[in-house]
């Protein structure tokens, strides 16, 4: 059965009432063997026997082709009459043939009509979205109820995990949030300066940067970064616990996994995100200021004066009031996806991806809703 070194080409030879298999019948030679079989004339009335006397090698592809040959000759492909050959090879061959199915019989996947498939796919996807929305609302409700129960009896509040999550979610994210906001601030100032120069209105770059960062970009950048960084971490942490049956162990011990796992994460995020949003706004404005000073020949003092003159407190509130809402979205989605992990490692990956995608999607959607709302009430 070893089938590597050079060996004579496979062939079939008719000798009276027997057909001799010659050479090596292996996977590499499959095409050639098939051609030989095709050339074999259809059976005559005399009973045929297959001679293995001159067979050099055979692997399982060869066994399949032998069965093919047998059925073409009208012999039983599972128990063809064999003659000669190495007893060990014959023993192996019988084992193979017993398990072998004719080539033609291998069923193929039924073809699908593309239109039906598309329709079915759209239907399934729609139902999945509805199901996700329902799950999310349900989990949100459960979280709120648990939160209220914990707040009524503050002794149940676990401070150590909250502190731990504040460090992981908030303090560790400071460099990333600060740096990225700084860079985005610089880019916006540069864009603004380029466009406003046309109208000799470069000085409005200050308002462009300060308004956009205080109202929108500070909180949005912080929320999107945390949606990527923290929602995925929550999903992976809870998902790993789920797949190790730690969640089940908690339930059996009479502990509430929502209270133990979700509430500390949620509270930590609600506390931390407004601070990160404020930090992001500051970093963005500093970035904008540096570009303004360097490329617009605006003195730093002018930037600061202009900034204070145009600044209104309501912009700060419009920005910061959104932060706890975004924090809620990120925490609830991250934790829910974690609970939805099932056993396999693949599932942790899938859930982590959808947790990030959903969190970012909902953050931006809510930001747009807030923008419309604040515009309507004239803030």
């Amino acid at each position: 059965m070893s089938h590597r070194s050079e060996s004579p080409p496979p062939a079939l030879l008719r000798e009276g009432d027997r057909i001799a298999l010659i050479g090596s019948w292996t996977l590499e030679r499959a095409a050639r063997i098939r051609a030989e079989i095709e050339r074999m004339p259809r059976p005559s009335e005399s009973p045929l026997r297959l001679s293995l006397e001159r067979l050099e090698r055979m692997d399982s592809a060869g066994a399949i082709l032998l069965a093919e040959l047998a059925s073409r000759l009208g012999l039983d492909p599972r128990h063809p009459p064999l003659e000669g050959g190495d007893p060990a090879l014959v023993h192996w061959l019988q084992h193979m043939l017993a398990a072998c199915k004719p080539i033609a019989e291998a069923p193929r996947l039924p073809g699908r009509d593309p239109a039906t498939w598309l329709l079915a796919h759209v239907g399934r996807a729609t139902l999945a979205i509805l199901r996700h929305a329902r799950e999310l609302l349900g989990f949100f409700g459960l979280t709120v109820i648990t939160l209220l129960r914990v707040l009524v009896r503050p002794s149940r509040l676990r401070l150590t995990p909250i502190a731990h999550h504040i460090e992981q979610v908030g303090i560790d994210a400071v460099p990333l949030v600060g740096l990225l906001s700084f860079l985005v601030g610089a880019v916006i100032a540069f864009l603004g300066a380029t466009v406003l120069k046309e109208f000799a209105a470069e000085v409005y770059t200050v308002e462009l940067v300060s308004f956009s960062f205080l109202r929108e970009f500070g909180v949005l950048l912080a929320a999107i970064l945390l949606a990527g960084r923290t929602a995925s971490a929550f999903t992976a942490q809870i998902g790993a616990m789920k797949s190790h049956e730690e969640i089940d162990a908690m339930r059996v011990l009479g502990l509430d996994p929502v209270e133990l796992l979700v509430i500390p994460r949620l509270l930590a995020l609600v506390l931390v995100l407004p601070m990160l949003a404020f930090l992001a706004a500051l970093a963005g404005i500093v970035g904008g200021a540096i570009v303004a000073v360097m490329s617009l020949e605006m003195s730093p003092a002018l930037f600061v004066v202009r900034f204070w003159d145009t600044l209104e407190l309501r912009h700060v509130w419009v920005g910061l009031i959104k932060a706890p809402v975004f924090a809620l979205i990120i925490a609830v989605i991250g934790c829910l996806q974690g609970f939805k992990v099932t056993g396999s490692a693949e599932s942790v990956g899938e859930r982590t991806t959808s947790s990030v995608v959903q969190a970012i999607f909902l953050v931006i959607l809510f930001d747009a809703l807030f923008a419309v709302f604040f515009m309507e009430i004239g803030m």
Partner: protein, 258 residues
């Protein structure tokens, strides 16, 4: 190399940081035998298998497969040698995004891209049947299979290219005794019918007594003894005595006698 040794390991040294797992380990696998490899946790059974397969680089020593030295050729660079080896990892290690049939087709297509589609499928189905799976299992995904069926599917993939040597890492771990017994039976029957050489890592005493021709016991970074079960049982090492002559070992030995 002598023709009857398909795998030779000589003076193998493996370290993880400062921990020395193998301290000059030598082992030879004879053609056609089923060698059981046992040893306590942390004696480097799986590491030895991974080193032979080229998934881990040895710190010193030689590894020879079919007479070719492969010490410096990691897995994936061994060309034709790789087709002569089949591996069943602990939980089957099936590709989870592919059906069982597609899993078995992977090595066939990889090494024989010109093969006719219907013949390739037929070949894959033959392997699935040989591994003792029902025909409808072919279209299922690994997540839809039970543990025992996953191992059988992994075995079908390992056998796809008619290997000469089969490496099995704890094939019965996590299976219930009946399924494990059936799998032992399958390994023994297949190995003898297909004239395979088998390297079998196990903790399962029943597997050792029912399947293996010889047993190698790892310990202290070396092979303590390699021989038939009778020879191994007679070895004075305290771990071996506890392992083979403890209540479980006796029960397994009795079961074989019966």
């Amino acid at each position: 190399m002598s023709a009857e040794h398909v795998v030779e390991v000589e003076g193998l040294i493996t370290r993880f940081g400062t921990v020395e797992v193998h301290r000059g380990l030598s082992l030879r696998l004879r053609r056609g035998e089923i060698l059981g490899v046992v040893g306590g946790s942390g004696t480097g059974k799986s590491v030895l298998m991974r080193t032979i397969l080229g998934l881990k680089r040895p710190d010193a020593g030689r590894i020879v497969l079919f007479g070719e030295e492969v010490t410096d050729r990691p897995a994936g660079t061994r060309g034709l040698l790789e087709q002569r080896i089949g591996v069943l990892f602990q939980d089957g290690a099936l590709f989870s995004s592919l059906t069982v049939l597609e899993n078995v087709l992977v090595p066939i297509r990889e090494f024989h891209p010109d093969l006719d589609d219907d013949l390739a499928r037929c070949l894959a189905r033959l392997k699935i049947a040989i591994a003792g799976l029902q025909e409808d299992a072919a279209g299922k995904y690994p997540s839809e299979l039970s543990g025992g069926m996953r191992k059988r599917a992994g075995l079908a993939r390992a056998l796809a290219l008619d290997p000469e040597v089969l490496f099995l890492d704890e094939p019965t771990a996590g299976l219930d005794p009946i399924t494990a017994g059936a799998f032992d039976e399958l390994v023994r029957t297949l190995a003898k019918a297909l004239r395979l050489t088998v390297f079998l890592i196990t903790h399962d005493l029943d597997t050792l007594y029912r399947v293996c021709d010889r047993v190698a016991v790892l310990g202290e970074g070396k092979v303590l003894i390699v021989g038939t079960l009778e020879e191994v049982e007679a070895h004075p090492n305290p771990w071996i005595q506890r392992y083979f002559l403890g209540p479980r070992g006796r029960a397994a030995a009795r079961a074989r006698m019966a």
